[in-house]
Symmetry: C2
Subunit: 106 residues, 2 copies
Amino acid sequence: MKLEQAAKQLEALGNPTRLKLYRILVRAGEAGKPVGTLQENLGIAASTLSHHLHRLILTGLVSQERQATTLICRANYPIMRDLVGFLADECCADAASNPAAGEAAA
Amino acid sequence: MKLEQAAKQLEALGNPTRLKLYRILVRAGEAGKPVGTLQENLGIAASTLSHHLHRLILTGLVSQERQATTLICRANYPIMRDLVGFLADECCADAASNPAAGEAAA
DNA sequence: AGCCTATTTCGAATTTCTTCGAAATTCGGT
DNA sequence: ACCGAATTTCGAAGAAATTCGAAATAGGCT
């Protein structure tokens, strides 16, 4: 069920710390950012960051790649695009252009 | 801080029950749906639905209007558009078109 | 092999979410 | 003024999130 997946991703982004984190990664672009830098940027405990990062990774929104001793984190754009697509499709049907409302009342 | 607001809205949508609920409302369009019908659609306790509805309303994603004894709920499209806009702007910067990464490291 | 740095896992405390049923409330009709 | 239907508020219980520090692990360097 796609909805479940979307809900998980939205939940992952629905926390100020994780949203900040994700935004930093998006802005870092292709280059990504090492965990340590993220920690400095956010000013939170390493273990806390690791936890949030893990949640973001579980939903596919972020991915990691080792580079020597540091782990580079990167935003996974296609996943976000899918999510935004879901919101636009399923949930953001334009009120004006979509006089639907039909949809088997019940 | 806009980010806090966005996080709250994402959190509100980041729960399967609320996302289903919101989707139903979006599909109901202008007409909206009364709380009772939503309850039947979702098959949850009235008090639980009321709680979720409240959360959605707090973030501005849903609004209500009385019609005699029933309360009609409607999705608030502009809010969702803003949210999607935020994701697109702040978070979904196209990796290719945005070689940013600058953003004062550390 | 030993060490150092980078990051995760563990254990734990506090807070918040999710859910329900019962009781209270709000509104329109009799 | 009362009744009945539609919703919300209250109270409560169990599950999950958030956060931290300390200890464990991973990887490269000497």
